[in-house]
């Protein structure tokens, strides 16, 4: 409720006015795609079990890269993986949108989520199973990132139309990051 003399943009009832002011400011930090919480076509990252260290680093890296493009990456995972992200990024600088994996699958199935691009991280048989399921549930671009000690065997098992990144990485995310940069077109920009 607006108090007498209070500017309209502080009333809480004038979201359009506030948005107009923010839009008039310079800088790439506000754009339509990044601020729309209901955007169901935004990029999606599906995470597997957090036992392989490179996953966490690359999840935040992907969120950063999409953020550079003015897009908020939605990250889906189980309770453990989301908790790791919350602790790693307490200010939600990168991991701004997170959701439970089961709910994400339900939303993909019900077309409440229709991501234009989806990345799936997999380092186990279960990860390959999830990647395959995601392919069946989404029509957009799918990038499967396969890592861990069994990466090559798992990569050979993944038989779906998608872009594949395979790297036997466990602790060092450098090579995977380089391949992600190439596939996602992030190579041109400096980190």
């Amino acid at each position: 409720m607006a108090f007498p003399g209070q500017p309209a943009w502080r009333s809480g009832q004038a979201a359009d006015c506030r948005l107009a002011i923010l839009r008039s400011l310079p800088g790439p930090w506000l754009c339509e795609t990044s601020m729309n919480e209901n955007d169901h076509t935004g990029p999606l990252l599906i995470l597997g079990c957090p036992e392989v260290p490179v996953q966490q680093a690359l999840a935040l890296y992907c969120a950063y890269r999409f953020g550079e493009q003015g897009k908020e990456l939605r990250i889906a995972g189980n309770t453990a993986v989301l908790q790791l992200l919350r602790v790693s990024d307490p200010g939600k600088m990168y991991a701004k949108k997170m959701m439970d994996l089961d709910r994400c699958i339900e939303d993909l199935s019900g077309k409440k989520l229709e991501p234009s691009v989806c990345l799936v991280f997999a380092h186990s048989d279960a990860g390959i199973t999830y990647a395959t399921t995601i392919r069946y549930l989404t029509e957009g671009r799918l990038v499967s990132v396969i890592f861990g000690k069994m990466a090559e065997d798992l990569g050979a098992q993944l038989d779906i139309p998608c872009e594949k990144i395979v790297e036997k990485a466990v602790h060092n995310p450098g090579q995977l990051r380089r391949k992600l940069d190439e596939v996602m077109g992030w190579a041109a920009s400096k980190t």
Binding site: G48, G77, N78, V81, I105, A126, G127, Y130, L137
Partner: protein
């Protein structure tokens, strides 16, 4: 019909690969039906690599259930309603 958690289930196998789960179900069940990933059963989307085998023995349903950290489980759940639904919607051949 209810969620698999509410109906109660028996875990027949745990930590198996998806191929192993399919082979187990095909070996153990009198009737086997095949569905694609995302098929809804017990109010959940089925996670898996196609063709996903679901086994039936009368009202008993044998199905794979995948969790990210634990791999694939094979569950045994008794539900006449879901068994009939699978007979109606599943494929007889992979």
């Amino acid at each position: 019909m209810g969620c698999v958690e509410d109906l109660g289930y028996e875990v027949l196998k745990s930590g198996v690969s998806f191929k192993e789960s399919r082979a187990f179900i095909e070996e153990q069940c009198e009737e086997v039906f095949y569905v694609d990933p995302g098929f809804r059963i017990f109010e959940k989307c089925l996670i898996g690599v196609p063709p996903i085998a679901i086994g039936l023995k009368g009202p008993v349903v044998m199905l794979p259930y995948t969790k990210p950290c634990y791999g694939t489980f094979i569950l045994r759940v008794e539900s006449t309603e879901e068994a009939d639904m699978i007979r109606a919607k599943g494929r007889r051949k992979p």
